[in-house]
Symmetry: D3
Subunit: 238 residues, 6 copies
Amino acid sequence: MRILLINPNTTAAVTEQAAAHVRRLLPAEVVAVTGRFGAAYIASRAASAIAAHAALDALAEHVAGCDAVYLACFGDPGLLALKEVSPVPVVGMAEGALHLACLRGRRVGVVTGGALWKPMLEEFAAAQGLAGRLAGIRTIAPTGGEIARDPDAALSRLAAACRTCAQEDGADVVVLGGAALAGLAARIQPDVPVPVICSVEAGARMVLAALAAPAGPPPPPSRSAGLSPALTRLLGGE
Amino acid sequence: MRILLINPNTTAAVTEQAAAHVRRLLPAEVVAVTGRFGAAYIASRAASAIAAHAALDALAEHVAGCDAVYLACFGDPGLLALKEVSPVPVVGMAEGALHLACLRGRRVGVVTGGALWKPMLEEFAAAQGLAGRLAGIRTIAPTGGEIARDPDAALSRLAAACRTCAQEDGADVVVLGGAALAGLAARIQPDVPVPVICSVEAGARMVLAALAAPAGPPPPPSRSAGLSPALTRLLGGE
Amino acid sequence: MRILLINPNTTAAVTEQAAAHVRRLLPAEVVAVTGRFGAAYIASRAASAIAAHAALDALAEHVAGCDAVYLACFGDPGLLALKEVSPVPVVGMAEGALHLACLRGRRVGVVTGGALWKPMLEEFAAAQGLAGRLAGIRTIAPTGGEIARDPDAALSRLAAACRTCAQEDGADVVVLGGAALAGLAARIQPDVPVPVICSVEAGARMVLAALAAPAGPPPPPSRSAGLSPALTRLLGGE
Amino acid sequence: MRILLINPNTTAAVTEQAAAHVRRLLPAEVVAVTGRFGAAYIASRAASAIAAHAALDALAEHVAGCDAVYLACFGDPGLLALKEVSPVPVVGMAEGALHLACLRGRRVGVVTGGALWKPMLEEFAAAQGLAGRLAGIRTIAPTGGEIARDPDAALSRLAAACRTCAQEDGADVVVLGGAALAGLAARIQPDVPVPVICSVEAGARMVLAALAAPAGPPPPPSRSAGLSPALTRLLGGE
Amino acid sequence: MRILLINPNTTAAVTEQAAAHVRRLLPAEVVAVTGRFGAAYIASRAASAIAAHAALDALAEHVAGCDAVYLACFGDPGLLALKEVSPVPVVGMAEGALHLACLRGRRVGVVTGGALWKPMLEEFAAAQGLAGRLAGIRTIAPTGGEIARDPDAALSRLAAACRTCAQEDGADVVVLGGAALAGLAARIQPDVPVPVICSVEAGARMVLAALAAPAGPPPPPSRSAGLSPALTRLLGGE
Amino acid sequence: MRILLINPNTTAAVTEQAAAHVRRLLPAEVVAVTGRFGAAYIASRAASAIAAHAALDALAEHVAGCDAVYLACFGDPGLLALKEVSPVPVVGMAEGALHLACLRGRRVGVVTGGALWKPMLEEFAAAQGLAGRLAGIRTIAPTGGEIARDPDAALSRLAAACRTCAQEDGADVVVLGGAALAGLAARIQPDVPVPVICSVEAGARMVLAALAAPAGPPPPPSRSAGLSPALTRLLGGE
């Protein structure tokens, strides 16, 4: 099995970190690609909107020969657009982690880096229909990019935010979200009184589960201008 | 890996059918148990309430040595109670299938056997926080038990109900629900214009995914009377 | 008029306490029965699931000759299953008290004993469609059983929780819930700035009101195994 | 016990009809008053807005010496305003009937006369927090006033609307709403497959139940101009 | 263009203050009228219910020759009733300000005077379908009437409440609501970290925008008694 | 006053059509720009995701010197991202039209061209918090692009869809959505029994209203790669 892992920001180090984590977990070949354009780290609505285009661009270029696509950015820019055009199942990191967390707890907390993500993730959860399952979203000030550069410095703040989710928001499970936070859940678990889920692992496991669902029909072709050749062809139905 | 598959009705043939289907799909040992008491087929609120007790009873007796529990009845009687007392992750068949279906489509249809299930499943989906993802629930008159005895007779009615979900309710994915319907999704897929998900397979794959989530703390012990020795011990915190 | 009061836990003293309170209030004969099996006090999801079976068992054995059923456990285990099979109206204690409280205030607080009840009651209120009317649910650590053994010790904590409901959660009416708390509402009312409703009384009055609604049709019969003779007959449609 | 029954329209015959029905049901003295100004029959938003004022006016004039107030217009104009200023409990006819119906069925249908009531009652149910319990609202063209003048002519249309609620909307209980429809529920019940609740009776029984809830504090006084002396005094806190 | 500005309380000074503010903003003639009866300042449910009648009364008397109606009381008593009977578009102050605020921020805070307004405005926003956009409603103790008499004394409390909306409730825009608060938004803006919207201005601008929507059909006529001649004629369809 | 009108598809003729319509309505200078890349007509999730990037790109290049931005594509690709980075107010065509329609009717219908828009617009309305105000969304098969090329051919189908919204979905106002449908509302109004709102006009009027709301603070700067120089500078906070 071959999984296309798309990191839609433009920092290859984050791509490699997430891919390495997934390779340790899944019995699958992982093809990892980085966004061709956009923010170095996605931490705003504008960066996320551009990343949706970049993710489509990457999918169009690399999906051939893959069995599934893992959109490996917590916040899942362009998720439904990718599902629309992809010939194989697509799972987003936040999508997968949130649904999986619902199996583990009644009220799901989310902790991630970057203050602007809070309303964006609240809206994402609501769009998934999961607003009612959300206990609360807590962010720490450093963005995913900053955490990636110095994870040790962020550990105690992440653990504190998870504890607040449990103790103040009533979460009985917490998702630690972010490609750049791969593997940190296990490190902070001893300091958190409820289960902490690694979004990179959870999303990856949900990619495997999603293979149970057969493919739907492709969308009608559309004409476009100024896009990459591969994306132009994909949208054109070729 | 060893999975405890609990069929909380009292018909061993259904247990075997579901277990066989899961064994074909998962690289896991499946310990399959049948309810000690209750309805032959669960098709009413009363039968479902009794089945919750039967499922707890089965878990208490058989969970030792297992890595996860699969509550293999679509409708998941007692799901949260099992999660509360189980030392290992528990996934319900409807729970798993509905969350997985959310990854495949925006609006999820459900088709199953037995008219009384419709409001029960609507409430189940709402309690999962997934009411907003539900396109509609369609039942055919024969119950799961009747379909199990003569699946061929039910195929065209199941396919028609799935088509109605797609065409009238706007579902872009349909879950074919029921332990007794294991394997029928693939048979009706050619006659349905949207993906059809087998609830037995979907639930089983979600059991694997759920292993990503670490265990939470056990509940406080409680004293009881008139229950099986194993269940008395489990509730008593022994 | 004859009311079957079912206490689905296995502690006869609680049954008697609730029945005595109802007998003082209603111009009705009260037939009071205790669960044959299950938890001494219901304070967890597992205990509540078993209690649903015990309540069905009690109804099947004792409903003949009664005009209505009062499921006298705040949290109403098995409520909809009892309504499904009962030949006479069934009202649950939490159901009745919550709907009655909605006539008295805009935002309803709930105070009861036992920390595990909070999420269970939140889900119960949501399943009743009343989530939007709930100001908040506050629990004190002692369970109903512990409060029953020493109510005086609990009074000040119950009053404090009711005040918190009013002052922090914005409740303009509070339900003091629990069979074992019968009669305590009047004792704490002087210390609470909003009306406090006794769940035992409220539920009982709603049993009377419910006699206004004619009976619906019985469910289809079903075959079962390992249940009490009376429950087997009731489910079998005899 | 003495109940103030307020009919906030200006047709005394409707007042008498509702009061007579309540007197047959309740062991209580019924003081029945008619609106001093406003629509002959309330069948629009404008008429309902004026009726709220008329109901306040009637309460101010007549509440002294009464133990409870029954706002006997299905749609409950001014309900929360009356509750705000009344020294004794107030129950509205639609309020009481809808909450009582929730004890009898999962999904509540409503049938009444006058097409403009449909959105108004949908909003009323939503404001009660009961939107999720509503199966549907069906109106027949004749208004309550027209039905009151010739009930026999309306019976078959009302029964047909109730059947539609059950068969198309999925209602498992139907409220037949309207002061002018007092007593018609029993007449159409034989032609409807689910229980039909008389709103006049249901509301009246809920007035009795509401006596379980102690009174709350009065609102702060306010100065006004151009109102009746009694209402001026009531609002002024005298 | 001619706008009928209705102040449904009975204090002419508030009418003049709001009208003067609108005249400075809009290129329109403003016909300003004060309620004939009711509370001096609207600060309770009872006062608001009476004001709905007074607003209808004012509209009936003065709408002839106007192009639009501005219901200039934050809380919009009788809004839907006025829309029902008016031959020209009607916009309420809270309605217009809340919808406009939704264009400016994701989560809307509201600050106004008079503690009883909080639940009333929460219900108003919910009835508008905007509950999900509301960050929170904060009131200060002085009512609009008291603020009108001494605005300088209220400025710092209003600013503090706006800051609390932003910092504790997460509002990214705040509506300063109340006819009597016209023009205060600009004065407190320097002390508030998010945009503050003047409800009088916002509502007035939305009156202009609403002219884009063509008129709908009039309601059926109805007979009434005891109302003003103009209102009797309007309801009678003359 | 100067308004930047952004058409985020790549068809300049649609830009001109919408701009001409706005110029006829508003006393403002309209700077009209077309997307540099993306779909010729936006009629899918993928095209919409790319258009969000194109709209950001256009805003960055052209916003200097403008007082407000009108995102003139019904569906508002990138709306919140544009609001995040824009120094002046941004209003989307669907956003403005839906909120304005809420002032005109209780339940809002939407008619547009292109079947894939239906779920996208349902999600847009839900994200606006307006799901509860939506009566229904009806699409006709020709996309906006096809309607623009031959509007006369589409008129009767658009009118029929509007009538269905009114008669089957219960809409009391209908928004005719789409930049390419500018001016068609007035042409079909005679054939529709409820008010029909032109989305191009409604959105434009809401741009004027939105000038009432002061600007909020800019987002933190972020580093990016592969974007246009103007967008790189805008995101970089220069």
